[in-house]
Assembly symmetry: C2
Homo-oligomer: 301 residues x 2
């Protein structure tokens, strides 16, 4: 990436290192390959069965046990393991990173990832562009990866002051090659937004299910739970370890949102207590209208 | 219904009056007809277009503007209008009720319905068997009615002390003819259970959407809301008027559940604040396990 930036359509990565070849890492590799944007992918992972699936499916071309070896000569490195492993991984790869390599993550939180990257990457921090693809799914592992997972999905880039505009653009080009739409936010802004629209709903759903699972009449309660309860609590079937990490990593923003939500509930408790139907109907109606505007795409960008 | 109870398979209603021919009332009529359990259905409704659809679809055989006329000679009366109209309707029909007629409702709350029925029906209260079919749907009106809406769905009967066992059994037979599974609870027990597994989730979903719709950055927040948020808030697209009525009618039980839920959130706030990942993971894991057991049918009865 010296001199003039090549046009987006001609950029091609020679060696892509994917550390953690699960749904996200595997789909990123497949997406780049399908777009003709990469020559070879080296994959790193701890589960031999998963790595065999990744090889058999053509997601990766080379299996490498050691992340430090995998990044040698790579022009693009995606770290797609659980966030808790990031700092150790960054420390492991830093000395073998090519000076021009683009390094990205795919974590659900950003401020903690940036802190880990700063601690481990030192002056190589300028090569790290934090990224969060908004594309979860019910299934996980290389077996679930697919080339179009990111198609029309949003990927948030949370660039650092140290990143060059060219490197951030390169990051955008890689995800766009996978079909994604790019948004940019600061890491703090990212964590505040996702505390509200993702992390708090998960916390609330886990809380509701856990509350009823602890009741003496839990069998009766679950026996009468129906479709509304099922959808409301679907995210309470998410991975406990992953959500533990997200909640702990983003606890400052999440506590702030939780407190505002409890305040909201206490405010709505007043018309409920007094049987003020008009006030309740106004809240319910405004909420329904906002949600319907959202479903209609009014807040798309 | 004098002498020995006829076997369930021979019971047939001669004239069924359905007051409020929407999704529930219309599907009840279609279900009874499909099972060969009723000779004719008289329908009462205020919306001429809806009543025309109900006639054209063969849901009802007779359109009657006046509920008092409709129940004359009926051996089964289903009141399936919004709950807020019940007391007035009961008062309107009481003097024309056949002494052997079975009267049921289809409301989502029971204690308030029983109070309205007691106030309006007087000593005819023994003919009223409170019922709550657990079968909502996205669509409403006679156009959405279908014979199998209640197939394998649960219908809660909340019988009164004044009901004869034979009449309660007749109520069960009618819903079973529509394919439903019958449960019995007291009205108070019903309202407590549904405050927990239905009314509180609706209240919480409305609160969350309304909270974010009121933020200065609402466009940004909704712009990044994804699948988890969509499912969690699906019930916030429910009818504001209907949920206003349910919340007001069942406010005592709902406030009690709300308070317990806020206590739960405050308890879970402590490990969140202190970054106690192990404690959070335990709650999340237990919640996921309970939900998965529920999905697997462990709490079916």
């Amino acid at each position: 990436m010296t001199g003039a930036t090549p046009s987006a359509s001609t950029i091609r990565f020679e060696r892509v290192a994917v550390i953690g070849v699960g749904l996200i890492g595997g789909s990123f590799a497949l997406g780049l390959k399908a777009a003709g944007r990469c020559s070879s992918v080296v994959g790193v992972g701890r589960n031999p069965d998963n790595m065999r699936v990744a090889s058999e499916r053509g997601i990766i071309d080379i299996v490498e046990a050691d992340a430090a070896e995998a990044v040698r000569g790579a022009d693009l490195v995606l770290v797609a393991t659980p966030v808790a492993q990031f700092e150790q991984l960054f420390a492991r790869i830093v000395s073998n990173l090519s000076p021009s390599a683009l390094v990205m993550d795919a974590g659900s939180t950003k401020q903690d990832v940036v802190a880990a990257a700063r601690a481990a990457l030192g002056n190589r921090i300028s090569q790290f562009v934090p990224a969060h693809p908004i594309a979860g799914a019910e299934h996980s592992g290389a077996a679930a990866a697919k080339a179009d997972l990111f198609h029309k999905k949003r990927v948030v880039l949370a660039p650092l002051e140290e990143n060059s505009p060219q490197l951030v653009e390169l990051a955008a080009i890689a995800w766009e090659a996978c079909g994604a739409r790019i948004s940019r936010m600061t890491p703090a802004e990212h964590d505040a937004v996702f505390a509200a629209v993702s992390h708090l709903p998960h916390f609330l759903a886990y809380a509701l299910v856990h509350e009823y699972a602890g009741r003496a009449n839990q069998e009766q309660l679950f026996g009468y739970a129906a479709g509304g309860f099922r959808d409301f609590t679907r995210i309470a079937s998410s991975h406990p370890e992953m959500w533990r990490d997200i909640c702990v990593a983003n606890r400052e923003a999440l506590v702030a949102e939780l407190d505002r939500y409890v305040d909201k509930l206490q405010a709505m408790r007043i018309p409920l207590m007094t049987g003020d139907g008009a006030a309740l109907e106004e809240v319910f109606g405004e909420a329904r209208d906002a949600r319907n505007r959202w479903l209609a795409g009014e807040f798309d960008r």
